[in-house]
Amino acid sequence: MSLAIHIPNKKVAINQNTESAFAPKQNFSTIDSFNASRGIPFCTPMHQSRIVITGVGLTSPNGNSLEEYRKNLLDGVARIQMIDMRYMGPKGATGQVPAGVCDFDPKKHQTRKELRVGTRAGSIAIFAAREAIASSGLDFENYDKCRIGVYVGTTEHGNVETENEVYNISKFNYDTKFWTHHHNPRTVANNPAGEITINTGITGPHYTIGAACAAGNAGLIQALQMLRLGEVDFALAGGVSESIQSFGIFAGFKSQGALGTHESDPNKVSRPFDKTRNGIVVSEGGCIYTLERLEDAQARGANILAEIIGYCINSDASDYVLPNPERQAECMHQAVAVAGIEAGEVDIVNTHATSTPMGDIQEMKAIAEVFGDCPTTYINNTKSYIGHCMGAAGALELAGNLPSFQDNIIHPTINVEDLDPECALANLVINEPRKVDAVKVILNNSFGMLGINSALILKKFED
């Protein structure tokens, strides 16, 4: 008896008599040997497939397309604003907090009813996904929707809706019969990815990847792995955040002593590496990429924006919030090793640094450990413009650097008026863009609470 499974363009028979292949004592070092032991013919070695980025869609506080966003990163334009936030004023009154707010047009891809029923995270995800699909040039309408996977990173999901509903029933003496029936579909963790599938008709797998503020990178890594496993042929992946709708996020950072302030200018609150930095700006945003195996992208004549050549996710295993530079350095070392390159071949390290006093120093220690002897490796930061887009941070910050493969310009980290000596690495690009001979490799760091570290390495595509 055989069971047919679908591998792209092929039907492969698995012999069910070989279930002993799952016996725990056997150790398969590669998917090849595992497959061979089960009688699966060696077909496309997808696990070795090169994975490329062929499209990008985004919304960030300072841009709703890659072009607008990149221009603002090179022009030093941030658009952080003060917004009203429930309970964040004195004695529980509404107060004001700095935040990164996106101004994309949600009605471009959603009906008014979809917007009313869904979540802000879903709306951001749909906008970014639709823009990414358009950017990829894929004949989406005629593509087999069951072969598309959706992998969306989130820092958290559900806080916004829960806070809103508790507030809502507070107006009805906490009578839960006024609690909305939309609460559960809005707060399930897969919501933003699921909303993408409902909006687009994609019937392949969808889920979110909860990875704190490393989630954007984690979404991309998940997609890469699923493409290599042959589970899907086309992937939408990245990260989203709706966190600015939740007073709890702001209040939590404030209680931690990690909510940033500036005496006069919201655009100067997020100032990683500046001696006076005092915390995070919470932002919303989203960035979704289209990923494909190189052979598929080339077969359809896609415009290839970059190749993912290395990655690593590891864990500090040490603290709930405090970063661990040893593990961060290990993460970067491992990503470089996976990429099969020397550290000195990395042209840009885009830092995670969030503008907290300790976190920025810790990351710079880790970077010095890995790249201290690399004279042509430059370091920058994107949160100085857009704040901390939480689950979207990794994906959005990477996008801000992608055009460097074409223009060979490294966008700076802005708002550094008094560089902290403890963050003063030689190749930190401060306040002004830097033109270099060539940018061929970018490493993107994203770290998160509970000690999750991620590093993703992209290479300029060369056939």
Binding site: T111, R112, K113, R116, V117, K177, F178, T180, H181, H182
Partner: protein, 85 residues
């Protein structure tokens, strides 16, 4: 003040305009099921029930949900409830 059936139907239309903002509610036929005239799903009917509760203090028990099928059945069912307030 006694509510008329027309007024109650207008209240229901106003709620539909809120919960299904893409739908055109002009020219709805009172006798025809709402779902045959508009793209409404079961969650939308729960929204109508919730808004009747929130805005007007009207309770519609689950076994009576079929009474909300058309504008006419809505006003037949809801008008006495409004006037009992």
């Amino acid at each position: 003040m006694t509510m008329t059936e027309d007024q109650v139907q207008q209240i229901v239309i106003n709620i539909i305009n809120e919960i299904a903002p893409d739908e055109d509610t002009t020219g709805l036929k009172p006798e025809v099921n709402l779902r045959d005239q508009m793209d409404l799903d079961s969650m939308d009917f729960l929204d109508i029930v919730m808004e009747l509760r929130k805005q007007h203090g009207i309770e519609v028990p689950e076994e009576d949900y079929p009474e909300l099928a058309s504008l006419k059945s809505c006003s037949d069912y809801l008008t006495p409830k409004f006037n009992a307030e």
